[in-house]
């Protein structure tokens, strides 16, 4: 315990915690919608796209990689959503194609063009999250804070609409709600979250960060509001404990957080089972 307080004196630990909490919060809020809308595969595909974009940004030696990664991922999110509602190419197939291609292209680009001595180390850290969460600059933190505030604000403001569109799109559209506009909004926000979360856990583990808290909360609660609140709380707790443990034990940040999320899911799963029997 004492050790934890000494950690907090270091600004990089404080930055990591702030960013970790915000990302965990954002990803869990939209995780519920993602899971319920059966959009989880989009999240997975987008994280691979983000990886490809990051490889290009790294090779171009861009000072702020976000400028490239964010728009590319957002555009892909909108495109994926369009194809999944279009019967010509089946949605899942399109996503699989795009994600595998970006993954391969990203790795290829990094290998061919990188001047770094430790290419596989670089690749590994973009895929599984690196220590980059512990080397955040003040600008990174502010960017993350602003994006998170926007994401959380959008969620609160459109909470009822998101619920209606997620629960029953046909009904909402029949009632005159512009459901495709909200779907696009959700896809764009998910893209933003994924790009932010890459810093925290790396692109391969993002889906876990988004989906686990929602699945855990759904085991425990039966109404949308409780599920949303519960998944936000679980996600933040896992992120904070994951970051602290990883600093203390020297384990990789991303994997530690995801391991915590998985452990919580297991516990929730068992509690849910017991509740079901009682």
């Amino acid at each position: 315990m004492e050790r934890i307080f000494t950690y907090l004196h270091y600004p990089f630990v404080r930055y990591a915690l702030i960013v970790g909490v915000l990302i965990a919060l954002c990803s869990s809020l939209f995780g519920v919608t993602l899971v319920l809308k059966r959009f989880s595969f989009i999240g997975d595909g987008l994280s691979h796209v983000a990886f490809g974009a990051m490889a290009i940004a790294a090779v171009l030696k861009m000072s702020s990689q976000m400028i490239l990664i964010l728009p590319v991922t957002v555009i892909c999110a909108v495109l994926l959503l369009k194809t999944s509602s279009n019967a010509v190419i089946k949605g899942d197939a399109a996503i699989a194609m795009i994600s595998v291609t970006s993954l391969a292209a990203g790795y290829l680009i990094m290998n061919v063009f990188s001047t770094s001595a430790n290419v596989s180390g670089d690749v590994c850290s973009t895929l599984f999250g690196s220590t980059s969460i512990l080397t955040l600059s003040k600008t990174d933190v502010w960017l993350c804070v602003i994006m998170s505030v926007l994401v959380i604000g959008a969620f609160v403001f459109f909470y009822n609409k998101i619920f209606a569109v997620t629960f029953d799109e046909s009904f909402s559209r029949a009632a005159g709600i512009n459901a495709s506009l909200y779907n696009t909004m959700i896809a764009v926000i998910i893209a933003v979250i994924i790009v932010l979360a890459m810093n925290l856990v790396g692109s391969l583990l993002i889906s876990a960060l988004v989906i686990f808290p929602a699945l855990s909360a759904m085991r425990l609660y039966g109404d949308f509001r409780s599920v949303t609140i519960c998944s936000a709380v679980l996600s933040v707790l896992c992120a904070v404990s994951g970051i602290l443990i990883s600093i203390g034990a020297g384990t990789p940040v991303g994997s530690t957080i995801v391991a915590a999320d998985a452990a919580v899911f297991l516990i929730c799963f068992m509690i849910g089972k017991m509740k079901g029997k009682a």
């Binding site: 319920l36 059966r38 019967a87 609160v156 403001f157 459109f158 909470y159 009822n160 609409k161 619920f163 209606a164 629960f167 029953d168 046909s170 009904f171 909402s172 559209r173 029949a174 009632a175 005159g176 709600i177 759904m218 609660y221 039966g222 109404d223 949308f224 509001r225 409780s226 599920v227």
Partner: protein
């Protein structure tokens, strides 16, 4: 002027028609029952009436005073909803989604409208329960209460009693009939000719030969006579 006028309408998917050449009108206070075999295009027609699908040809005209936000819809149940974590109250309240416009939260009036409709459907005691834990009949009542929150003028129901046992179906039909008596226009898809003949004012039969007319005309038509004979044989 009629509430809904349909002229020479063809509906279907990807340019391929499922039903062609439909013409009928729905007036205020009518109770129209849409009959037809499975796969004959009833749901597709209803979605086209709602504007969820585009007509392949022909047109759907709504009377000048009917707006989208005055229509309630009870869709044929989809699988997605069955394991959805949502309380009864949350779902019924979401029927007010169109009324609330751009407001982020529901107003007092909208909340009391939701409570009123839960009362009407006899599900007030279930308000806090999770939708996925309810019986089929209870779930249908929840969706009907939600549709009522949206239906200021017209209520469209897609097979509202499918999967319900006969007693619960009967209650459902009575409920819908009482809503119609209160002045709500009803358009309902059903397999149940008995119920249609008991409650509806008009019938639209989709199939090899399309029929549209009042109940009286339907009884005299080919479909009606065929049905009456079948009944006699059974008796």
């Amino acid at each position: 002027m009629a509430l809904i006028t349909v002229e020479n309408l063809s509906v279907g998917y990807d340019g391929k028609p499922v039903v062609e050449g439909l013409s009928f009108t729905v007036n205020e206070g009518d109770y129209l029952c849409i009959l037809g075999e499975n796969g004959s295009g009833k749901s597709t027609l209803m979605k086209t009436l709602l504007g969820l699908n585009k007509p392949l040809s022909g047109k759907v005209e709504t009377g000048n005073e009917l707006r989208h936000t005055e229509i309630g819809y009870l869709p044929q149940q989809t699988d997605v909803q069955r394991d959805f974590p949502a309380s009864v109250k949350e779902i019924v309240l979401s029927g007010c989604i169109a009324r609330s416009g751009l407001h982020p939260f529901y107003s007092k009036e909208e909340k009391s409208l939701a409570e009123e409709n839960m009362e009407k459907m006899g599900i007030t005691h279930l308000a806090k329960r999770s939708y996925r834990d309810l019986s089929g009949g209870q779930q249908q009542r929840v969706l009907l209460a939600r549709a009522l929150c949206a239906a200021r003028k017209v209520l469209l129901l897609d097979e509202p009693v499918t999967g319900l046992d006969p007693k619960v179906s009967q209650e459902m039909y009575e409920l819908i009939a009482s809503l119609n008596k209160e002045g709500l226009t009803i358009i309902m898809i059903s397999h149940d000719i008995d119920a249609a003949l008991t409650y509806a004012s008009h019938i639209l039969h989709i199939g090899e030969r399309t029929f549209f007319g009042s109940i009286k005309e339907y009884r005299k038509s080919r479909y009606g006579r065929y049905y009456a004979e079948e009944r006699k044989e059974e008796a």
